[in-house]
Symmetry: C2
Subunit: 379 residues, 2 copies
């Protein structure tokens, strides 16, 4: 029996790599449905290759143009409703949520309601609505499988171990493109400097988030929800080589770590094959070639955004939503050269100071907090 | 329900640490039976502390002297038969085999026949009779749980993963006390030099075996039997810090490693609590404090004993028995200053060259091969 996959965000980086994994294993997987944004050319190619039964794109116009070109029997949808249809309206066993931004949330919740396994690659889902999503998943007995490399590492290390035997978990952080610079030296860094990530080739937004450590901060919040640990049990360790992707420590002091070359297909495939594994045509890690791994204590003064993320996580409620939304605006402004690199953290600090946290927010409240944060951050 | 433990070799290094672990967890474990050698003073102390129902010591004289001093109801045995009684003649759930040398084998087989879980800390059991022991354990559906830190690491990493998804396993090796020396420099090393092991505090025999890499070679053979992998799937990696205790690589290129400070209580306790874990009052590993881990490809020219061990493993039959027995004699002669350090490997080479391997040996044949090898190595 092949596993049927619905893929939200098929033309992005995670989406295309998910399709590579599926393509390598036709005996294991088939594509049931695809949702893309506005890259019609690429999604059309994907449709002809993988023959999904349903497809959705961002806009009505894109859908109309697509309809004329898809094979007979492929149903075309669009917009937020289309995304929900792809997530919840098919025979898919597993839904990969690789869309970016908050639009992934309603679709993910709809998929959970239909009892589908979630392979989660959308950060906002847990950062903004972890309390809602994890409760819903527990109610429906649905597994939320992480696709992010750090969370997948933790998930692989935990495999089969009783959760109450966990002492702590540690997310490793490369430190990003500016890890060798002091705060003084950060004053004059440019957009071009910031976009050179040492280990992973990623989009502009996440590369900046790596350098500010906001990305790691959001991962801490996700880990809190995914693994049910308090923030004092979640650590971040500087590890420039990004070879140890993360690790867990048990109550008996034994540490289990997951290692590998940076290749997102490994965690993607693990989420799809779980609890089994399958072969993957990827470069094997040779520790003899790497020769040396380095570790440094995380410095919260050097990376104040990480400290802020912990604080937001502990505050809970709307705080992580506001932190995330303000960061999106601040990074966009930095990329447009409207503000300097260090003004990203200033923006976050100011927005957080003005925010009055609302506990246990529902989806509307989360949306309002998000909108408010974006408005303030843009000022 | 507490787990009942029979401990073979209670006064040795593994034995005393096993009792420390049991002592820390009276709610989990109780001592059902103890077997010791000739350290009557210590075993008597252990008897009064842990109140086993049966005890065995090496000789009839020791048993007689002990009988007068044990609490009423404690039965005292001695010799090989006594060891078998402790292993197989009690209500114990788990038998920890921490005796050294080949006398552990009959007792271990007797315990397997009685369906007891084996926590294995006796190297000879699998090196000399892996084909017999693993078959017997499979027939009786008995688990063989490793106590050695490297094999425990592999075992912890494999937890719950389907064996056919394993690509390879890698045992790490510190390189021993002479890891920085060239072969030329090894000519004149002394017994005192050899006994300075960098990471673990161990007995003289195993410290020398670390420096020659015979110890790692025997571990490779044990891993072959414990985990059912071919020798081409078992690697050895030089890792001077001994922090990564060993790791496995899966078919999807993901590597799972076990890490920790060197503390034998961790693998001992894991074998006792498996499949669960329990807290342990041991020093937690801080990778930030360690700061750096180093790795180097294993050099078989520098460590010819490791190459020989692989060859013996591949030959199978009586070859590993002869290798192990010849090594015991050679190391004893080195410790008595009768031969030089490099003559240990010369001895092994010569004995192996003269040995005609017998395939699928039974216990008598193994014993004969052992005796033959000791005689030749002593010449």
């Amino acid at each position: 029996m092949t596993k049927k996959i619905a893929l939200l965000g098929s033309t992005g980086s995670i989406g295309t790599q998910t399709l590579q994994v599926i393509d390598e294993h036709p005996e294991l997987f088939e594509v049931e449905a695809l949702a893309a944004g506005s890259n019609i050319e690429l999604v059309l190619k994907q449709i002809h290759q993988f023959r999904p039964s349903k497809v959705s794109v961002a806009s009505r116009e894109a859908a109309e143009s697509l309809k004329a070109q898809v094979p007979a029997g492929t149903k075309v949808y669009y917009g937020e409703e289309g995304l929900v249809e792809i997530a919840a309206g098919t025979q898919a066993d597993t839904v990969v949520t690789a869309v970016t931004g908050s639009m992934g949330l309603p679709a993910t919740l709809a998929a959970i309601d239909e009892g589908k396994t979630i392979a989660l690659a959308n950060k906002e889902t847990l950062v903004t609505a972890g309390h809602i999503v994890m409760q819903r998943a527990a109610d429906k007995n649905v597994a939320i499988l992480p696709v992010d490399s750090e969370h997948s590492a933790i998930f692989q290390c935990l495999n089969g171990e009783p959760r109450e035997r966990l002492h702590s978990l540690t997310l490793t952080a490369s430190g990003g493109s500016f890890r060798h610079l002091s705060r003084e030296q950060l004053r004059d860094v440019t957009v071009e400097d910031a976009l050179k990530h040492p280990n992973w080739s990623m989009g502009a937004k996440i590369t900046i988030d790596s350098a500010t450590m906001v990305n790691k901060g959001l991962e801490v919040i996700e880990a809190h929800w995914l693994f049910g640990l308090g923030y004092e049990e979640i650590n971040v360790l500087l590890h420039p080589e990004s070879i140890i992707h993360s690790f867990v420590e048990f109550t008996d002091t034994s540490i289990i770590a997951q290692l590998g070359n940076p290749d997102m297909r490994v965690p993607i495939q693990y989420a799809l094959t779980y609890p089994d594994r399958a072969s993957l045509n990827a470069k094997r890690l040779s520790l003899a070639e790497v020769a040396q791994l380095n570790f440094r204590k995380m410095d919260f003064d050097r990376f104040p955004c990480l400290r802020m993320a912990y604080e937001c996580g502990r505050m809970g409620g709307t705080a992580p939503t506001v932190f995330n939304a303000a960061n999106e605006v601040a990074v966009a402004r930095f990329l447009r050269r409207e503000i300097s690199f260090l003004q990203i953290e200033d923006t976050l600090e100011k927005v957080m100071q003005r925010h009055e946290v609302i506990a246990h927010p529902d989806l509307d409240t989360i949306r309002e907090a998000d909108t408010w944060a974006r408005r303030i951050a843009a000022e």
